[in-house]
């Protein structure tokens, strides 16, 4: 099975799905699921294989080539599995929408383009797939029309800026080294001047930073996440945005991979320190802004930015100090975050599906009684985001913290830790306002979510727990990525780490928590019985509170907001909006010159000639 064939299946599947959709919707659904599952099977079989393949097709006289190694396999398996789960989830969610053929083929196309990105081994095919992904994403974000069109426009403008930066970088590399094959560039860059290396880093850093939504470049993300159809938001947040992380790994490889992390120039180190600090900033500010949100998807979207900060922090810091623990933590967090956020968006989508698109946190509540599976998904999802012990997020965060503290950067560690508390506050609000609290009368008789929604949620929930208890499974692959990047290998066991300065043993933790919970449960069970009462039977100073009269959770963190609101403005977004406004105004002014009237154009020409004549008569330059 070579990479071209995989991509052929992926892209062909996308087109076939569209054609099948014209025949029958059942056939289309079946084809979409079958193709996405086939891709999962293919990549599962390719575990541990290395492939390198030159494409038979020259492009502008350049060799295009594909490869499959640890890093591409790691990202590819995540892409295809999350993609498949999203497609399964879409089956019911999108059933009664219009233009579903287009939706499914675009979903598959985005997945295929992402596969192309991680499989390509030269920058030209990388760029082509990158653009393909951006444009498909734009179409999908704008799928819902209305406000989604604005969000899509914002996305594509930012994305184009990134692509242009990348194109400039690629051209410059081609001019300098006369090759675009990534391994060759890596070996050529080892001898390049430090200034040029810094230029490459910054220009690609902008491109990948926009995609990964690092702090000053993040503004496209909240609106896009909120307005895209929810199953696609899952893909968008889970893997697509994290192509930026893949990009950062790639530049790390290009500038430092061949020289083993030891001979890195000071510019590379400085760049990565800056990156780590940007990551820290990206952790703190968005997680606190997330607390202000009342829209479930906006809230999660701001976490998308914040958690991206952890990855950048881990990777940037890992490269800057040649610390493979931080690097592995950053990569592992990419996977963990993808699982958790896809889970959370699916859980929101399940609620949206049953309540008719409601995602306002102030009007939901008490849904745990109606949709227990979605609740468990949301609970495990937020636990993973927070990093509660025995969930996957805990392990990756532990790795990063440990590296940051032991390398002597407590302030970066502080940013990461306090970001966790911001996360707790905002995700608790998310969980509480949606699933706990009062159940409004109008949702008393909601049905459970359908099986095709429960299945992906169940799969991802078990993945959260599995990777939290046995982190060694993904960490083995991540270890290979670290060695590929030229870092030292980690002491990974199946349940954690062993080292002198502090070990992690999730098995002991699991055993302790399980045993203690059992003991507590027995105590709980032995005590006098309790009676289950209706939710309105609770103490309100002896008064009977009429049903649905109040919603207790609106304005949940009001005291904190009044303190923090002046400081938590999205200054960057306001700046960009002002910039866009002034550009629009100046373009409007320019447009006034083009009146469309022949007479005025003639006047312009005459005026121009007159001024030329005047200049010639007065100064005689010619």
């Amino acid at each position: 099975m070579n990479p071209q064939l995989i991509l052929l299946i992926a892209f062909g599947g996308a087109f076939l799905t569209y054609i099948f959709g014209k025949i029958s919707s059942k056939l289309r659904d079946g084809a979409a699921v079958a193709i996405s599952l086939a891709l999962v099977a293919i990549f599962a079989c390719l575990y541990g294989r290395r492939l390198q393949e030159s494409f038979y097709w020259g492009f502008l006289g350049l060799n295009l080539s594909f490869r499959l190694d640890a890093v591409s396999w790691f990202f590819a398996i995540a892409i295809v599995s999350l993609g498949a789960l999203s497609i399964i989830f879409s089956l019911r969610y999108m059933r009664d929408r219009e233009r579903t053929d287009f939706y499914y083929s675009m979903m598959l196309m985005v997945n295929a383009a992402m596969l192309g990105i991680v499989l390509s081994s030269d920058l030209i095919s990388f760029y082509i797939f990158w653009e393909m992904m951006s444009w498909c994403t734009f179409l999908l974000i704008s799928y819902n029309q209305h406000r989604a069109l604005d969000a899509g426009m914002k996305y594509i403008i930012m994305s184009i800026i990134g692509s242009v930066a990348m194109l400039a970088g690629i051209l410059s590399l081609y001019v300098s080294f006369d090759t675009l094959l990534i391994p060759q560039i890596a070996s050529s860059l080892a001898t390049a001047s430090p200034g040029y290396v810094l230029f490459v880093l910054v220009i690609f850093g902008i491109a990948f930073g926009i995609k990964n939504a690092i702090m000053p470049l993040h503004t496209w993300l909240p609106d896009s996440y909120a307005e895209a159809p929810s199953p696609f938001t899952a893909v968008l947040s889970g893997m697509l945005t994290r192509m930026g992380v893949y990009g950062f790994l790639l530049i790390t490889y290009v500038v430092g991979g061949m020289i083993g992390g030891t001979g890195l120039g000071s510019n590379v180190l400085k760049f990565n320190y800056v990156l780590a600090w940007l990551g820290a900033l990206t952790i703190v500010v968005p997680t606190f802004i997330a607390m202000l949100q009342n829209d479930a998807k906006q809230l999660l979207a701001w976490h998308g930015i914040g958690q991206g900060g952890y990855m950048v922090l881990g990777i940037g810091f890992g490269v800057a100090t040649a610390n493979s623990l931080a690097l592995a933590g950053g990569i592992f967090h990419t996977l963990n975050y993808a699982i958790c956020i896809v889970l959370l968006f699916m859980s929101v989508a399940a609620v949206q599906y049953r309540t008719g698109g409601v995602r306002d946190l102030n009007s939901l509540g008490g849904l745990v009684a109606r949709m227990p599976v979605a609740f468990v998904g949301a609970l495990l999802g937020i636990s993973g985001l927070i990093g509660l012990p025995l969930t996957n997020g805990f392990v990756s965060k532990w790795m990063m913290y440990k590296a940051l503290i032991l390398e002597g950067h407590p302030f970066l560690a502080f940013a990461a830790l306090i970001g966790t508390w911001g996360t707790i506050l905002s995700v608790y609000k998310f969980l509480h306002n949606m699933y706990l609290g009062q159940l409004p009368e109008k949702y008393k008789h909601l049905e459970k979510s359908p099986f095709s929604m429960q299945l992906p949620i169940a799969v991802l929930s078990s993945a959260v727990v599995l990777f939290g208890i046995l982190p060694g499974i993904p960490l083995r692959v991540i270890n290979k990525i670290c060695t590929w990047l030229g870092f030292s290998s980690l002491d990974v066991t199946i349940w954690g780490f062993t080292s002198e300065t502090g070990t992690l043993n999730t098995m002991n933790l699991l055993a302790a928590i399980v045993v203690v919970s059992a003991v507590v449960w027995v105590l709980f069970h032995r005590a006098a019985k309790s009676v289950v009462v209706a939710q309105d039977d609770n103490y309100a100073a002896g008064a009977y509170v009429p049903k649905d009269k109040y919603h207790y959770t609106a304005g949940f963190y009001e005291p904190l907001f009044t303190m923090l609101r002046p400081y938590l403005r999205d200054v960057v977004d306001e700046f960009y909006t002002a910039l866009a406004g002034s550009v629009r105004k100046s373009c409007g002014a320019v447009r006034r010159i083009y009146t469309g009237d022949v007479g005025s154009y003639v006047t312009y020409i005459i005026l121009f000639l007159a001024s030329l004549i005047l200049v010639q008569l007065r100064w005689r330059p010619w």
Binding site: L379, K397, T501, I513, F524, K529, V532, F556
Partner: protein, 298 residues
């Protein structure tokens, strides 16, 4: 092996006994400071027996599961803390794991209360989480200072290091951190002037308003263990731990009585006053300590 298992079983019980003793002591000493006679020291035990036998209401499965999770989390944290020479789970993750397992207790209470659908619970939890954010800022700075200073994430190693060079609180940069920890200790324990989240007069004791019977029993045990955990952490990190449990207990007692004096004498702050205080003096001290330690290291 038998000794180790015995440690696992007995240590949480000892911690619970100390915590419950502290609860009784808190009521007694507060009473004496307020010129009252006060209840017998075993009053919390009597209360807990009653809670065990009294019926209660439940608002659904999460109402119970959250509390069980919270209590289990607290007990597991206890297993990670060295108590004198006893530390059953020292080799499984260190201070960072403690920090994260400590999250289980407030999260569990918040989850469980969340299903109560009572306005007082919502207000109480919101206040609790905001207050937690308030004291976590200096608390994290303090822990980072200690970890950076000793260059380890293991509590056992911090204790061992102090055996050679004396108590942390007696050395200059960590003195600031230790004072900062003492200043936030009432907030961490939910004592006055920081008992906003369980204020009985304002919000009918907040998250506890729907708890009765066994639910209240578990919440009480959880609170008792919280007293043990936060004070034991302070003793371990700043007062040099101890070689044997008795010395350790005496150190804990002194710290606890210190906190009690504040508890008995102060009125309650509003939540934003509490945050403003916590983000001002304790944070400034902790930050100063961290900066000195970081500069000294590099």
């Amino acid at each position: 092996m038998v000794g180790r298992i015995l440690q696992f079983v007995l240590y949480p019980l000892v911690a619970l006994a100390i915590g419950v003793f502290f609860l009784g002591l808190a009521r007694k000493i507060t009473a004496r400071i307020q010129w009252r006679y006060g209840p017998p020291l075993v009053q919390p035990v009597i209360d807990m027996i009653r809670f065990f036998y009294q019926k209660s209401v439940s608002h659904g499965p999460v109402f119970a599961v959250g509390l069980i999770m919270s209590l289990a989390g607290s007990i597991v944290v206890v297993l990670f803390l060295p108590f004198g020479s006893i530390c059953p789970l020292s080799g499984s993750g260190g201070l960072l794991v403690v920090l994260y397992v400590m999250l289980l207790a407030p999260m569990g209470i918040a989850l469980s209360g969340g299903q109560g659908a009572n306005p007082n619970i919502s207000i109480g939890i919101s206040r609790k989480l905001i207050l937690a954010l308030g004291y976590e800022v200096p608390f994290l700075l303090v822990l980072l200072t200690v970890m950076t200073h000793y260059n380890t994430i293991s509590i056992v190693q911090v204790v061992e290091a102090q055996r050679d060079i004396g108590w942390s609180i007696a050395s200059l940069p960590l003195f600031l951190s230790g004072v900062s920890y003492l200043l936030i200790l009432p907030a961490m324990l939910g004592f006055r002037p920081f008992d906003v989240s369980t204020a009985p007069q304002e919000i009918s004791s907040g998250p506890l308003v729907e708890y009765g019977g066994k639910y209240l029993l578990m919440a009480t045990i959880e609170h008792a263990l919280l007293l043990f955990i936060d004070i034991a952490l302070f003793v371990n990190l700043f007062l040099g731990g101890a070689g044997n449990p008795i010395t350790f207990f005496v150190k804990m007692l002194i710290v606890f009585v210190l906190v009690l004096f504040i508890h008995a004498a102060f009125p309650r702050l509003r939540i934003e006053q509490a945050i403003r205080y916590l983000w001002k003096w304790p944070t400034a001290l902790a930050l100063a300590g961290l900066i000195i330690v970081t500069i000294g290291r590099s």
